[in-house]
Amino acid sequence: MISFLVRRLLSAIPVLIVVSLVSFIIIAIVPGDVTAELAGSDSTEAQRAEIRERLGLDRPMIEQAVRWYGRLLSGDLGQSYLLNMSVTDAVLERLPVTLSLAGIALVLAIVLGVLLGIVSAIRHDSWLDQGSMSLALFGLSVPDFWFALILISVFSVGLGWFPTGGYVPLSESLFGWARSMTLPALALAITQMGVVARMTRSSMLEVMSQDYIRTARAKGMRSHTIIFKHALRNALVPIVTVVGVMTGVLLGGAVVIEQVFSLPGVGRLIIGAIQRRDYPIIQGGLLITAATFVFVNILVDLAYGWLDPRVRDDR
């Protein structure tokens, strides 16, 4: 197991190098720089040139990249041009918001999706099946930003149950945090819930027709024991496989949801940095987000082995 973990961690390094290289190349291609933001839109070329020189932006891209990687080796992601703080601090300050948003959304997507999938599978071809799958299809089809605005309109403006946006840190109030995260997480989860529901249904239908389920039934085992103990565990294997990918989708989707619900997360940090060309934040933010994604995928691989011992033994 340890050698597996070490191998997976080592294989993450090239992934992160590629991510940072791609972000460097994109930055090099995109026109515009931070000087207009720092010096003002009516600044002179001389003022902007002075800023470019001070920030090292006048140096060749290769030289800038070498300097950045050099600092990275000592754990320094650099200093934001505009936030007056280090990139590490800026990202770590916001990571809890994004991780809790994506985390809750993941749990919601899995729990709701699996429930819908099970209902659909065990009531195959009934109105319950049709209703559940229609709901799943709705989740898959609806744009998350539109669904977010509908949730605000119904549950915040109409019913007044939840705030329209903003973030309450967990350290301040558990109840406030839960209220502030409910609608954003629901909006973010809706698409993935559809994916999970459809996968669970097809997987469950396949498992339910296996011999060992028939045997369990013949033995007179209770229906819910068959479903939850035998069928679901096996049906979950392909679902766990997609959890890693889902995490990436949720981290990406969090950008839009953070914008709609004005949550101070990493997504908004990176979007703001792109709009204002705060390169260190873009590079550092993408690297840390990619690292999170890679780390979650390693966890998923471990969970996969736990669920299906055959996979673990194969390693």
Binding site: G32, A90, L149, P163, T164, Y167, S262, P264
Partner: protein
């Protein structure tokens, strides 16, 4: 030293008293102000900085002008008035400005403001200020008393005080020890009615009432950026909500009290809601279309004239601003001090395609590409660019839209090649007056890449003319020249829709949301 002109508080006091007396004749029943509460104001973007001197961003100014104060600022009718200064006495030769300071003004750290703080702040501005050019005429800043500084100018500059009072990136006064720090590294300590508490980027900025605030008792109430300011609220929270739909929802639920800006159609929908007040902050900005005079075909004045004649300004403004606009040809607002009357009117909103085609022929236009640079960050820009493009295609111009994001547009428009026309809303410049507006169109960083010698000369004449009457005459010549070489087209004027909860009292729309003299009515 002989004093030939001065700006004193007494005169303002008299004017204020007369105005107050006149207003009293028709005054509504006086409403009792209530202290306390947290006012939540919404704006769509983060302040890039809360170091007021180093940024000219509106998102920063919205907040910082409640925290800091300058020596001089603009009154409601856009004239310089003393704020932290007591008065100013200008020497006969126009090069020395003796500025006594108000007594007993305290910083948020509890220290009293002195002439040393003022000198250090102004020197910091000379080094780091976002619009350093406004202090460029100053040769030296001397402390001439515990509460007095004297500014010596390199040469007489009659428009110096107007420029010095500019709120664009205001020359605010901060403690001497803070003034020694680099940009964005200061503690946010000012003299204003509210003091800084915390800033959580992408979330909020929190301010708190400054109980030791020394209000300017020479005034009856607020006046533009100055006057007698009273902080009624315990705290003020500026929340950053980028999504307009979410901001409006927050206003409807009462989670927030004041929207700095909301979409025009939404404002119209909310107008019938008794819990919400809608404000039309008009005029707010000029919508302009700027030519690159170094790139063909826009390097040809005849071609530019054809564009001017072709445009249907009403159609552009109606679409770009969703109906919140005013059509006026003048390069200053109608009825304002420097309004040059009918000069150039015959060229404005003509929409004469036949005449435009004839002018194109005269210009020798040969179907060269005309690249319209616009951006999606400011929706009005993008929409105006598209409509202009369509109108120009109708007269046979090979117009191509290049819609990018704001930083990219700024980068491209600073180049001599790669663009022909650029859509730009000018908000603060027309508000600040002729010198500020024309300075953006002259010199090394002129918006149209190439400078117009005649306009440059007229600008110099404008800033060196002593009397207001003289400057008005010069501005008439400037407006005439603008309609001769067609380097820039004024498309129209637009406004800002703002909204508050009905229990927000005392709010008056202005160039920034003044949260002093605002209170929350208790239900």
């Amino acid at each position: 030293m002989a004093k030939t002109s001065s700006l004193k508080r007494a005169g303002y006091l008299c004017t204020g008293l007369v105005a107050a007396a006149l207003m009293g004749l028709a005054a509504a029943p006086v409403q009792a102000q209530t202290a306390g509460g947290d006012l939540v104001v919404v704006q769509s973007s983060n302040p890039p900085s809360l170091d007021a001197m180093v940024t000219s961003s509106q998102a920063s100014r919205n907040i910082t002008m409640n925290i800091y104060e300058p020596l001089f600022g603009f009154s409601e009718d856009i004239r310089p008035i003393p704020i932290l200064a007591e008065s100013v006495e200008i020497s006969e030769d126009g090069t020395s400005y003796r500025i006594p300071l108000r007594e007993g003004v305290k910083f948020h750290n509890g220290d009293e403001m002195t002439a040393e703080d003022v000198k250090a702040s102004l020197e910091r501005y000379q080094e780091h200020g976002a619009t350093q050019s406004m202090l460029e005429p100053i040769a030296s800043i001397e402390v001439t008393g515990p509460l007095e500084v004297t500014l010596t100018l390199k040469e007489p500059t009659p428009t110096f005080l107007e420029a010095f009072a500019s709120p664009r990136a205001p020359a605010v006064i901060i403690p001497e020890e803070e003034a020694a720090k680099a940009p964005n590294e200061i503690s946010f300590i000012g003299t204003g009615p509210y003091k800084f508490v915390e800033y959580v980027p992408d979330s909020h900025v929190k301010l708190e009432r400054f109980d030791e605030y020394s209000a300017d008792t020479d005034h009856e109430g607020i006046d533009g950026f100055g006057g007698k300011k009273t902080a009624y609220l315990d705290t003020v929270t500026f929340r950053v909500i980028p999504e307009p739909g979410a901001a409006v929802a927050a206003l409807e639920t009462g989670e927030v009290h004041l929207l700095e800006q909301l979409p025009v159609p939404t404002a119209r929908r909310l107008a019938s809601n008794d819990d919400i007040e809608i404000y039309e902050n008009m005029p707010w900005a000029f919508m302009t279309f700027i030519f690159n005079m170094k790139e063909a075909p826009s390097d040809n004045p005849k071609f530019r004239e054809a564009v001017q004649i072709a445009l249907n300004n009403e159609e552009i403004m109606a679409i770009a601003t969703e109906g919140l606009f005013n059509l006026y040809h003048g390069w200053m607002y109608e009825g304002s001090t420097y309004d040059a009357g009918d000069v150039g009117k015959e060229y404005y909103n003509v929409a004469d395609t036949e005449r435009a085609k004839a002018l194109l022929e005269e210009a020798g236009y040969n179907n060269e590409e005309f690249s319209i640079l616009t951006d999606s960050t400011i929706p009005e820009h993008g929409k105006a660019g598209v409509v202009i493009g369509e109108q120009l295609k109708a007269i046979g111009i090979n117009a191509v839209i290049n819609q990018v994001d704001w930083p990219t547009a700024l980068k491209i428009r600073l180049q001599d090649e790669g663009w022909n026309g650029w859509t730009l809303m000018m908000g603060i410049e027309p508000y600040l007056g002729p010198a500020a507006l024309i300075s953006a169109l002259t010199g090394e960083a002129a918006h149209f890449r190439d400078s117009d010698e005649e306009l440059d000369a007229l600008y110099q004449e404008l800033i060196s003319t002593d009397s207001e009457e003289g400057r008005k005459a010069v501005f008439e010549k400037i407006q005439k020249r603008m309609y001769e070489f067609f380097g820039i087209i004024k498309v129209g004027e637009t406004g800002l829709m703002q909204a508050s909860r009905a229990n927000v009292e005392g709010f008056k729309p202005f160039r920034f949301p003044r949260v002093y003299d605002v209170w929350l009515e208790q239900n």
